[in-house]
Symmetry: C2
């Protein structure tokens, strides 16, 4: 089966109008699809209202028990269920899930670092079968950035990684997966300030050249590493770009190929 | 297929130890099963922490926009996902849902009353097919007391009614449904203060006699009306009683029959 796995981040989640417009485009996207959403600023705002101070250690954000409670409420409840209800209204039969639901994504509490990140999960395994079963029934999974450890503990988890894990797991089961990361840029750009300098297709050879020439650097490096890892594992194609481009049935953005 | 639909209320949800013990028993219950949970006091406590005053009109509680946000977070996020993660740890492959997820329960915003209840839903229809599909795959739906109107609006909804609607819808599709309402009492009692006076089986004729004699009165009347309605519609049996009795594979409590 052909499946599109779409990751959308905070810049869309935070803005009611951008979210509504995104969901309209997502709903119109043909074929089987999965949405993985980030958290956005709502959890930070809710924590502030509850008088929970952001906990930082060595400049890294920590998920303590209070923060986990907030992200479970906000990502798993408020954000996820609003998206599901809006998609239903647009004719997309969505079902909201965390990694714990149907055991779709198992994770381990992060260890082995100099600091204790608290209740943060590193993905151990995404399970393709329950996701594929929903897709076969015409149901669209909407996944919040939370996983579980299988021992009853929910874990705050990076949505980019979850999207990759879901795409790879589906690919490994023989599905033809298009993974699309929506972000602020039009894709990989020769000139970071000029959307017209978009690189439409990027393969590993060109990626190495771009790195050597300094055309890709900073935040784009881990993002592209992630994308090439997905391709290498089992994903047919990975796209990076803006919502408007990537949600078209013929996407516009940077296509990563193996 | 034989299906148990279990409703559990605030008295269990509010108490971490009672909840854990309930989930252990629920997990051990044989066969296909659905859990419908109430909200409990956590939403009220969270609203207080957020400085949201309970809104009452004519002594009735109103779900305004702020309160809906809180119940969506607490029922749909915190309570539901904690239950799901705990059930996964106990070997039950649970999936947490609101009525919006998979469009399992549609509702209408309550109208026609002298007061406006706000974002409160009256169940229009439960859809058996998506629930039965999950059960067939060995997945256990865990349903939070929220529905949607199909137009993008989430609605705060009574968990007893949602449990009844799910049971009736499954019954109408030919499934053999045992609906079990867990509450504080051992069941229908001849003497309300004596659990030993339990009435093990209640049929419509005996119910009429008990009403005439004043043996059932007050809060038990709507609960039993609800139960007999379920039987009349399509449900095989309805039980009322305490968790300990009703979660046994051979339940102990009051069995309502047609």
């Amino acid at each position: 089966m052909k499946v599109s796995v779409i990751k959308v981040g905070g810049n869309v989640i935070n803005d009611e109008q951008a979210l509504s417009s995104f969901l309209e485009q997502f709903s119109n996207l043909e074929g089987a699809k999965v949405l993985v959403h980030g958290g956005g600023k709502l959890a930070t705002a809710m924590a502030q209202r509850l008088g929970i101070e952001p906990k930082m250690v060595d400049g890294r954000r920590i998920t303590d028990a209070d923060t986990l409670e907030v992200v479970t409420m906000v990502y798993g409840g408020l954000v996820n269920k609003r998206i599901v209800a809006q998609l239903q209204a647009k004719g997309t039969n969505a079902i909201g899930l965390t990694g714990a639901d149907g055991n779709i994504i198992e994770a381990d509490k992060r260890t082995g670092w100099e600091i204790d990140f608290g209740f943060v999960g590193d993905v151990r395994k995404a399970n393709a079968a329950p996701i594929a079963n929903l897709l076969t029934q015409g149901i669209t999974p909407v996944i919040a950035p939370l996983t579980h450890d299988g021992k009853g503990q929910l874990l705050n988890t990076n949505a980019d990684t979850m999207a990759q894990a879901v795409a790879v797991a589906l690919g490994q089961e023989g599905h033809e997966v298009s993974l699309r990361y929506c972000f602020e840029k039009a894709g990989v750009l020769l000139d970071v300030n000029d959307d017209a300098s978009l690189v439409p297709v990027l393969d590993p050879k060109k990626f190495e050249e771009f790195k050597a020439e300094g055309i890709v650097a900073d935040g784009m490096l881990p993002k592209l590493k992630n994308a090439f890892d997905a391709i290498e594992a089992s994903v047919t194609e990975v796209w990076l770009g803006k919502v408007e481009g990537l949600l078209a049935n013929d996407p516009i953005g940077t296509k990563i190929i193996g």
